[in-house]
Symmetry: C2
Subunit: 131 residues, 2 copies
DNA sequence: ATATGTACCATGCGTAGTGATGGTACAACG
DNA sequence: CGTTGTACCATCACTACGCATGGTACATAT
């Protein structure tokens, strides 16, 4: 895995990392079960903050591209190749684009939509804390 | 129509105006066809900026609570009473709450959702500009 | 002339979110 | 002990947006 981070790039650093790991998986450069460098190790190599790398790893694990085995390190997920192609982001974009379009068509102002969106985001009400 | 604006109130000034006009309509204090004070007039009376009043009027007209007859002034819409009860805002809130809930359930981060939302808002692509 | 709604230009202030940085600490493995 | 992932604390710069303000100008009606 040759990961190259470009600070000049407008794409956020953690995002570049995510993208490149997924690319490495899809390109067959790393395979299921392969060990990945530790967070601190990679942070050191790339001259990044460990929190930045951790953020990338967190996202990669959420997408089931990698697997963190606690104290044993991080490995490529068994279904990494398939999962790295899942376009969660694409679905996100599409969903929101449609919703926004619908709202706009009703005559609602962008301001109003933004405010309501922020309210929806700040309103705790998902499956988090419950008895 | 006795409109009272409270600068201390956390509710935005233009919003207070909108609310109170709708209340006046629903309370029967003003009726269809009644003339409303001009933007500048009202701005002067309430010691508000004319742009602030104009903003309120713009929203009220969008909701078909009032009607601007160009140079002749502003009047209460024929269906003002009914239209002032339409809860566009409520629908907005509900729609976005549902959408956000769905997205969150998929594991998406609030950050990701916010970013995608902003992209959706900044992406011009509805039925607006066309040749 | 005066007043109407509206459009454009602009500013300031406050808030909030993102990205990235840093330090410290923990439990559990080798 | 050293390392693992992770969680908590914190800071800073940058950007974007909302609200409200101000000025100027326009075509059109009375």
């Amino acid at each position: 895995m040759d990961i190259v981070i470009d600070i000049e790039d407008e794409e956020p650093l953690f995002s570049q990392l995510v993208t490149q790991v997924k690319a490495a998986v899809q390109g067959g450069k790393v395979r299921a079960g392969d060990a990945l460098p530790s967070i601190r190790q990679l942070a050191n190599d790339l001259e990044l903050n460990s929190k930045t790398v951790a953020k990338a790893y967190r996202l990669l694990e959420r997408d089931s591209v990698i697997q963190t085995r606690g104290y044993r390190g991080t490995f490529v997920h068994p279904d990494a190749k398939a999962n790295s192609q899942v376009n969660l982001q694409g679905w996100l974009t599409k969903t929101l684009a449609e919703t926004v379009a619908t709202l706009r068509e009703s005559g609602l102002t962008d301001s109003e939509i933004r405010i309501a969106f922020n309210q929806a985001m700040n309103a705790r009400s998902h499956g988090a804390a419950k008895s």
